[in-house]
Each structure stands twice: as C-alpha cells, then as structure tokens.
C-alpha cells in the first residue's frame, strides 16, 4: 500500500492481488473466512435453512435433549427450550441478529470515528482539544459499563444496545485516524495538493483519508468481533435484545436457570458465539498481516 498507487484504477486490481497473496498465506485466515462466509450464508437464508419457526412452541416437546442424547429427536437436532422451541432454528435465526449487530456497530463507530478523527487531526485547535477530551472521557469508563448505562437511558433493546456499543467504540477510530492524519499532513503529496489549491474537504477525504484506511480496517474487523461479544453480553445481562428475540446472548440469559436441567439450551448458543467470533478474529489476524507492511517483509 503505497501512497502514489491509491488513486489509479489499474493498480487497484494489482493491490487486491497483492493483498490476497499475503492473506492466503495463512491457512487459518482462509479457514476463518470460509466459516464466516458460511455464517453469512446461514444468516441470509435463515428462513429456508432452519427446520422450524424460531418462535414456534412445541409445548409437548419442551426441554428435549439434542438428537444424539437419550430421549432426543432428529426433528429437534440441538434440543428444545422450556417452551419447546427448536434450539437449532433459534440459533440459526440468531446469527442474523449477531451479524447485523456487529456490522451496524462497526459502520456507526467507524464512520463517526473517522470523521471526527479527520476533523481533529486536520483542523487542530480548540476543536481538536474538545473532540479528544470527549473521547478520553468515553474511554475513562469501561466500555461495557458505559454501554450498560447508555442502554439503561435509551431503554433495553437490540437497536439501543448497538447504538450504545458503537458510542463506546468510537474513540478508538478517532484516535487512529487522528494519528494517521497528523503523520500524513507532513507528507509531500499533501503539501503539493495544498499548493495546487485543493479544498480542505477534498484534501481530507480524497487525499488523506484513503491513506489512513489500513489501520482503520484492521481496527474495524477487531471491533466487529468484540461488538458481537458485547451485544451478547448486554443480551445476557438483560439489557440487549429482548426475549423471545433469539439473539445469542439473550438465548443464554433466558435459559440460564435451566443450566442443570437442560444444559444444551445454554451450551449451544455459546458455541455459536465463540465460533463466529473466532472466525472473524482469524480473518482479522490475516487482514492485519496482509495489510501491515512491516510484517510483510519478515
């Protein structure tokens, strides 16, 4: 990723090839990507794939164990919950919510964070001080705690949980973007564009922004996985998605008192979270290695 190459189209394909070359070196990263694509596929076609409606109560089959256990039935492969709802179908539909939550959190925090970071770095002055001190304040309180308080204000629910988590992630993007902007500002090409009379907005978004993107993208994938974890944690604490919405953390929370009685209602949603987050982290590691020029050489 060198600066002169960015604006030209023909090299974009080259860049992509180069990126894919380095990314595909890591087998685990590719495995993570494959699994992630699978999860996305399941989420997109949840209605077709899942054997039952996620909210349908088969009360005569309440608390059925998974199919391979004694008393289990093939039609409820991962067992059923207290009201006889199919765990597999609920987990499949839950993948939608988790991926959606992760994406929205990243989109929100990334776009707001990058914008504020650019402004802070480019404009400087009191605006920079204000933005950075507000970000410091947000970072002074543990993210989950701040999100909890925010959700308490906004009211529990998946959407509000996403907004709250996005707010707690914003400072990381602001800091990254500001730091890169500051270092880019001193480079020749920026000075050159300034001399030719390019507008500030053009400078900020067309010249500087693309060159700050690599670390932001890596931070974005990291945030994607932690956003899924934090959404689930809020759901678990009863402050995220509300039952009977089959969000993964909420599934664990609503079945928590059955932990001795019907442990499968707690274990499978957790495994789903773990695998999805793991896949994203594998991809994230691969991305970082592929995008980080320093590691490329070694």
């Amino acid at each position: 990723m060198n600066h002169s190459a960015v604006s030209s189209k023909s090299t974009l394909g080259q860049q992509w090839q180069e990126f894919w070359f380095y990314f595909s070196v890591s087998k685990t990263a590719v495995a993570g990507l494959v699994f992630l694509v699978l999860v996305v596929f399941v989420a997109l076609f949840a209605d077709v794939i899942s054997p039952h409606e996620p909210a349908e109560q088969y009360r005569q089959f309440a608390k059925l164990p998974p199919a391979w256990k004694e008393g289990g039935q093939m039609q409820f492969f991962l067992g059923t919950d207290y009201a006889g709802r199919d765990m597999l179908s609920r987990i499949i539909h839950g993948s939608r919510l988790s991926l959606l939550a992760g994406s929205i959190v990243v989109i929100l925090s990334l776009s707001i964070g990058v914008l504020l970071g650019l402004i802070a770095g480019y404009r400087g002055g009191w605006l920079e001080i204000l933005i950075m001190r507000v970000m410091d304040t947000i970072m002074a309180v543990p993210g989950l705690l701040l999100a909890l308080v925010l959700v308490a204000i906004l009211g529990p629910g998946l959407l509000n949980a996403m907004v709250a988590i996005a707010i707690t992630y914003t400072p990381y993007f602001v800091r990254l973007t500001r730091a890169s902007t500051l270092s880019e500002l001193n480079r020749d090409y920026v000075t050159a564009s300034k001399m030719t009379g390019a507008s500030s907005t053009r400078l900020m978004f067309v010249s500087i922004l693309p060159n700050c993107m690599a670390p932001v993208i890596v931070q974005g994938t990291l945030s994607f996985s932690t956003a899924i974890l934090d959404t689930a944690a809020l759901g678990f604490l009863g402050m995220g998605a509300q039952a009977p919405t089959p969000e993964w953390g909420t599934l664990i929370a609503e079945n928590r008192d059955l932990i001795l009685n019907a442990p499968w209602t707690v274990t499978f949603p957790g495994i789903a979270i773990l695998l999805a987050v793991l896949a994203i982290n594998l991809v994230g590691d691969g991305l970082r290695d592929a995008l980080d020029p320093k590691l490329k050489r070694s």
């Binding site: 009360r59 009201a83 509300q242 009977p244 609503e254 008192d257 932990i259």
Partner: protein
C-alpha cells in the same frame, strides 16, 4: 463465638471440655437485608432479618396463620363505633442488652409512642433519621390515625379518623415493630441517631451479634425473652443469593433451612431422604389485567374470550414448573371469604374465537406488558408473556411483548399506557380488602393502583360495606358476592397462586411455613 460455630460444624472439641454443645441453626437466606429497621423497608429478606428475629409488635400474627394474637399487648378492646382501640401492654418485657446499650427499665407505653410517632409525626426528632416509612404510607396510617395517647405506663389508646376493620391486623405487620425509646434517647445524647436503625435493639427472641454484608448475619438467643428463651442458641443467616448454591449447601448440611428453591430442583428435593420439602399455598395472586378503558377491552365479551384463550395449565407447567395452582379468584384460597363456588373460564380456543367473532373483533393487534423482575407470584413474567402471546395468536390476536425497567413499568402502567399487563400482589395482613379494595376498587382505578382501570359500581359498593363492619361472617358474604361479579366481568385473567416451598433438613423440628412469607425460627423450632 467463632470457635463454637466451627467446632459445632466439625463436631469436635467441645465434648472434652464438658460444655453442652450450642445449638446453631443455619438459614441460607436469599440476600442481604436492606437494613435492620423494618419500618424503612419493604423486602421480605429484610423482615426475616429484623422484625422476625430482633423485634416484636404490639400484636402479632400467629405463626402459620394470619390470625392476630397478643404480642407486646396482652389484650385489647375497641369502642362500639370502631374508632377507639385500647391496648393493655405486657409487663416485664426486657429489651436486648448489646455493646451499645444496657436497658435500665422494662418495655412500656413510651416505647409504643416513640415507635409510632417517629413514623407519623414529621416534627418528631427521629422522623428524618433513616429514610421513608414505606408501609406506614401504604397502609394509609397517616390519615387513619387521629391520636395515640398514653393512658398510663401500660395502657395505650389509638383513636382513628374513620372505622377501618383491618386496623388491628395492620399493627401486626412488620413495619410496626417496636423500638426502644430509652435507646433512642441515649443515642440522641451521644449524637449517633442513625445507630438506632443500624445497631438494632428490640424485645425479640434473638439479639443481633454481627453482620457482614453479602456474607452472614449472626444472632444469639435473647436470654430474657418474655415468651421464654428460644430452643436455638445461635442463629446464623448464611447469605446465599444463588438458589442452586443454597440447595447444594442444604444437601451438604451446611444449612438447615433454605427459602425460594429453584422450581426445577423440587423433584430432587422431594426424593432426598435428608430433606423435608414443606409447602404451602402462598398468600398471593398473579394476574393479567386488561386495560378496560381501551377498546376492545371495554367489552366484557372480549375480556371473557381472551380469558378462555389462555392455557393456564401450560403456564403452571412451564413457568411455575408445578410450584403453583391455577387461580380463579382475585384472592388466594387460604384467605377467609375465598369463594369456592366461583367457576373459572375453561381453556377453549375455538369458543374464544367464536366469541371474538361475535363481538366483531378480528385481526386485533395489542400488547402484553411483562415485568422485568422475578416476583413471588410470578417466577418469570417474560416466559409467561411468551406463552400467552402464543395462545392468543391461535385465536387471531397478535400481541407484542413490552417491557420496561421495573420502576418505569409500574409508573407507566399506573398511568394506563398498557393494553394488557402482567402483575400480581402479595398479601400484607391477611385481610381480603388488602387484595380486592387495593387492586380492584374504584378509588384505585382513579389512582392507578387498579391496573385494569375497572370501576364497577356494584362491586365497589360491596367492598365499601365490608370495610365498615367488623363481623367476619357478614364481611365474608359480601366478599363472596363480589368475587362472583369479578369473575363474570373478567377485568383480570387470574393466572396463578404460587406454592411456597421450603426445603428443611430432617433434623429441624417445629418449623412452620408462614403464609405471609416470613421465616420464623422461634415458636417451637428446634434441632434434633
């Protein structure tokens, strides 16, 4: 003290010294008390740790019933107009001696006056010490009382502003626990007024020894207790929040009694030879209230149809896991005046659908509010709402589940924002008026305590008549009639009365499950 407990637990040491082994009863309580003055709080956990151990009241509930019996008063009488009550106080009752206080006199009328005036009179020097006198307000004592007079050291006269038949029962409630006026005076001199609530002194069967938040409360027997020293020498509340853990400790013999078992564990407890699983129907009711001010719930036939559409037995099986009974009346069956003749709506989705059609209701979209907290009358409101949602879907009603934070939930529902909502009630004093009057009367419909916002003239006048008379048989007849009207009008779907389970280890004798929810370790409780 610490040595004895450990030694008792491990069963060694003491035999050598020839000292009789102290009887220690351990109660795995469900949480830390809010404090040690029951007049300031509302949680049963707090009452167990304070009013039922440290304090007495002027009159008390007989353990195991809601009958009012003498406490610090030996006897009482009321005037013919029901406005004056005179109490003859017990002589020779001693307050606890603690590190901070040594009583120089016996209990007398001054202590009664101190206790009530503190809660009642805003200019009382102790009124602003502590916090809010919650139950004193809820029972409307402030406007009910006209005066409290000390006739002599052992006679006190209460004068009321209006006749109120449940008055004496109110005085037996936890909030009316009697504090020591002498202790209060000493603390005022020392400038440590707040200690009256934190370092409690009472006349009760147990003296507070030590307390560590979220860990334990330790009590010793009150040697000079007026009703005889307790059989138990030491009482320990081992604070154990998680019901799974409480059960494990009970199994291991680390505690003798535990409250609020996880419904899912009941079968295993019943099968355990070391555990005596005691049970009693709780003095409570869980209900779904229709907002009768909103269409179509203003029509009786719609309310009846939606009542018929709910499979209550499934709720009992899934939400209560059997630890409850289907409710048909707004008061629990253990309460006097319960009308056994009332017939409940049978589960009949087809019939319900037909009734909705005849009322011209189709494609109804509505909501079910579910509270966010576990209550004695409803172990899991959201689960209950999910089941009702599915049942109603079968008769073509599309209901959305709505939840707010608990305080907001109560406030918004008091303002009538809901279509239908889940709530319930736990009895305070065993009087039917404490259910029907507070929850279904017209005054309550105006103030919002009546979540159905249902004001039925005939029903309301029956309640008003019953409140003015003291004869229980006459009152019973009126309340039975009121229950018939209630069922026909169906402002609520009465869902369940929970069954209260108390797993108690076999070596404990004489423990009684108390209908008002308290855990009492005096009155004949002993260890084998």
């Amino acid at each position: 003290m610490k040595k004895t407990l450990l030694a008792a637990g491990l069963g060694l040491g003491l035999a050598l010294t020839g000292v009789a082994q102290a009887k220690t009863l351990v109660f795995c309580s469900e949480g830390s008390p809010e404090g040690f003055n029951p007049s300031l709080y509302s949680a049963g956990t707090t009452f167990d740790a304070s009013s039922q151990t440290i304090y007495n009241r002027i009159v008390q509930f007989e353990t195991g019933t809601t009958k009012v019996i003498p406490g610090l008063a030996e006897s009482w009488s009321s005037s013919a107009d029901g406005l004056e009550y005179t109490f003859n106080l017990r002589k020779g009752v001693q307050f606890h001696t603690t590190d901070d206080f040594t009583p120089t006199r016996d209990f007398n009328a001054d202590d009664i006056l101190f206790t009530y005036n503190r809660m009642w009179k805003e200019d009382h020097p102790y009124h602003d010490v502590g916090g809010e006198y919650l139950y004193f307000g809820w029972m409307d004592m402030g406007s009910l009382l006209k005066s409290i007079e000390k006739v002599d050291d052992y006679t006190v006269k209460f004068t009321l502003t209006r006749p109120e038949s449940p008055f004496v029962s109110n005085l037996a409630m936890d909030f009316a626990s009697v504090l020591s006026a002498e202790y209060a005076d000493n603390l005022a001199v020392a400038g440590r007024q707040a200690d009256i609530d934190n370092k409690p002194v009472g006349t009760g069967p147990f003296v507070l020894d030590s307390y560590v938040k979220d860990a334990y409360i330790r009590y010793n027997a009150h040697d000079d207790y007026w009703d005889g020293r307790s059989n138990i020498d030491k009482l320990v509340f081992a604070i154990t929040v998680d019901n799974n853990v409480r059960y494990q400790k009970l199994k291991a013999g680390e505690c003798h009694v535990m409250p609020y078992p996880n419904p899912a564990d009941l079968a295993a407890m019943a099968a355990d030879a070391d555990i005596n699983l005691m049970q009693q129907e709780g003095l409570n009711v869980g209900y779904l209230a229709f907002n009768t001010e909103k269409a179509p719930f203003d029509q009786k036939i719609v309310r009846q149809a939606l009542s018929m559409a709910i499979n209550k037995q499934a709720i009992l099986d899934i939400v209560f896991e059997g630890a409850g009974s289907v409710a048909k009346n707004p008061i629990p069956p253990t309460m006097w005046s319960y009308n056994h003749a009332v017939r409940d709506y049978a589960y009949d989705p087809a019939g319900a659908k037909a009734m909705l059609d005849s009322a011209g209701v189709s494609g109804l979209k509505t909501n079910i509010w579910a509270m966010p907290v576990q209550r004695p009358y409803n172990p899991n409101a959201r689960r209950m709402a999910e089941l009702i949602q599915a049942d109603w879907a079968k008769v073509g009603v599309d209901a959305e589940i709505v939840t707010y934070e608990w305080g907001e939930y109560l406030q918004r529902s008091r303002d009538g924002e809901h279509d239908t909502m889940l709530l319930g009630w736990t009895g305070d004093n065993g009087d039917p008026d404490n259910f029907m009057g507070v929850l279904l009367g017209c005054t309550a419909a105006a103030s919002g305590g009546n979540r159905a916002r249902w004001c039925h003239e005939e029903f309301d006048s029956l309640l008003n008549q019953a409140r003015q008379i003291t004869d229980q048989a006459e009152r019973t007849a009126l309340y039975e009639e009121a229950q018939e009207i209630f069922k026909d009008e169906a402002p609520w779907v009465t869902i369940a009365h929970s069954i209260v389970f108390k797993p108690v280890r076999k070596e404990v004798t004489g423990f009684i499950v108390h209908p008002l929810g308290s855990h009492i370790f005096y009155d004949g409780v002993d260890l084998k």
